[in-house]
Subunit: 353 residues, 2 copies
């Protein structure tokens, strides 16, 4: 690990460290993407999605596009949570209009096809992207924090077992977790360890904060949530903390956790918690410790609608978060039909506090 | 309305009235359905799904099948929440393997094609099913309560606007709610009033409790949840209470409401609240008033798995609910691959308290 390279002046890092920075720093989930004409242009040249994620110059450019256009406080590595199974050797493709498709892993034989020893080599181009983005930010946008990320073990395992998004049902993964918990635990352990390696490499390459996306945490019953979301996350955080500088910021996003957010926040002891669209920010502010930052949770549909809907919703969240460590964000990824002017209007509104 | 025909001896009605009946009464969401060989046999003869729902003898038989097999405490009318838009004149079909398909309503012209004055006539066969089931229960299973139901206005409007299940995204409905709230409010009002008429007719025909299924309540941001879930439900409950006997039991099921369940329970003042699979029963027990019954929330995947997984999960919920008014149920509909013996084992387990 390098010595701690974080700048104390970056508003996003100050908020993640527990300071009630106001106006709050902001970035937006999926801020790099199809709603931007400059992204669509580059995407058309790049070919398929995996090529885009593994070509450092292109992925770095895409990461930086929304920073240039909107002056946000955080840049998030352009990649996908399924690049980890891909790095483990699981066949992956992104089919137009149908989302990701993986060759499902559902038994010991499937598990044996995965190759954790391949990860270090496979992620090389992604780490190069991190380096390129960090250099560009240091040179041209020194107040912008670079965020690395990965999926959380449960969510990544959902895709690995079902092989598709399944509209969030993930029957096969949930059935395997109940029906053969020993095998499922082996898969979760492999993913947890590979994810720790992947995230530590991102930090070493220049990421200044790391976010864990647990998009499908909320589909589990509480007992299963504790076993497959909280416990593996606690273990992942332990593996990360052993090697990261003290206080290095980690953000968890257990989407649709509902009331389980309180237990997740307390057990994982992460610096920051993402709130999904459905979460009441006032409830979350009471449910997590006052020194844990919150992040979120404007409805992307309000951003799509713009005008009064956007203003009313954004102001309600700002009102609920004032006075505590907080990072403004959406509660879910930006919609691809969103007019970029709506994003610009939102940035002005948040900057005005 | 008829005079109050409820039997004070039915365990399910005692629990809904606020009594901590133990062992708790139980029924299971989608207890009539494809996991039962006798259902599959009848379904093969009946032709399409709408014909099944609108042929009283067949729908009544399907409703009664799980009662005969398992001796449950509640029989729920075999129907579908989309029979209301169907009764309003919106073209509907159930396509094999792709779920329901409606001709979407997205503007004033679409709204004008709906015909609330058709509802009374259209629902006649469904009310006849209620009468037949109630007669059969009175004659052969006098301790079993008959539950009528409808979708809640928000969830029904989701399908009416998007026209399909959309994996729970309902982009068009959410965009209309933000983008043209006046038009969306007109749709919600029409659905609310038609639903009140539909439910009151079910009660008059012999239903002894009514359940409101709000399957997609949890996809909304809190402000939208208040406006499109809580407020229309409050209005619907007001319309029902005006005409129902005092204390007639109403059950709300705002699926994935998360922490918003507390506000929903308090504002609607329903006798009972359904808990979805993701809800922590211990949290719910603190969040709702002690005289409001809870219902739920075994993971249907645990029932599918059977054995230890089923026993551990069921016992945890029983432990959390002991001492308060409670109705045992699943947190989501039964999975179609569930072995009927697993259901029988669950019934024995719950009956043993």
């Amino acid at each position: 690990m390098p010595s701690d390279p974080r700048s104390p002046d970056k508003p996003m890092l100050r908020a993640l460290a527990g300071e009630a920075v106001w106006p709050p720093p902001l970035w937006l989930m999926r801020q790099a993407g199809r709603y931007l004409p400059e992204y669509r242009e580059l995407r058309a040249q790049a070919g398929d999605f995996i090529t885009l994620c593994t070509t450092p110059e292109l992925a770095a450019e895409v990461t930086l596009q929304p920073i240039r256009r909107f002056g946000l406080d955080g840049a998030i590595l352009f990649s996908d949570i399924l690049m980890l199974p891909w790095a483990l050797g699981q066949p992956l493709r992104f089919a137009e209009g149908e989302g990701p498709v993986l060759a499902p892993v559902r038994d010991a034989a499937g598990l044996a096809t995965l190759a954790p020893e391949r990860v270090a080599e496979a992620i090389t181009p992604i780490l190069e992207t991190v380096r390129l983005v960090r250099e560009a930010l240091d040179a041209h946008a020194p107040r912008v924090a670079l965020i690395g990320f990965a999926g959380s073990p449960w969510t990544v395992a959902c895709y690995m077992v079902d092989g598709r998004g399944t509209g969030g049902a993930f029957h096969q993964a949930r059935a395997l977790a109940h029906g053969d918990p020993a095998l499922f635990a082996r898969l979760i352990r492999m993913v947890t360890e590979a994810t720790a390696e992947y995230l530590l490499a991102q930090a070493a390459a220049g990421a200044e904060a790391l976010m864990l996306f647990d998009s499908w945490a909320g589909i589990l019953a509480p007992s299963q949530f504790r076993r497959w979301v909280i416990e593996p996350t606690v273990e992942l955080v332990r593996l990360l903390r052993k090697r990261l500088p003290t206080g290095y910021p980690l953000i968890g996003f257990p989407r649709l956790a509902g009331p389980m957010l309180a237990e997740y926040a307390q057990r994982t002891n992460l610096q920051a918690l993402g709130m999904d669209t459905a979460m009441d920010p006032r409830w979350a502010a009471l449910a997590v410790a006052p020194d844990q930052a919150l992040q979120g949770n404007l409805d992307p549909i309000a951003l799509l609608a713009g005008g009064m809907a956007l203003e009313v919703e954004a102001r309600a969240i700002l009102g609920a978060m004032r006075g505590r460590p907080y990072v403004f964000n959406l509660g879910h990824g930006i919609e691809k039909e969103t007019p970029p002017e709506h994003v610009a209007a939102l940035v002005r509104l948040v900057r005005a506090g």
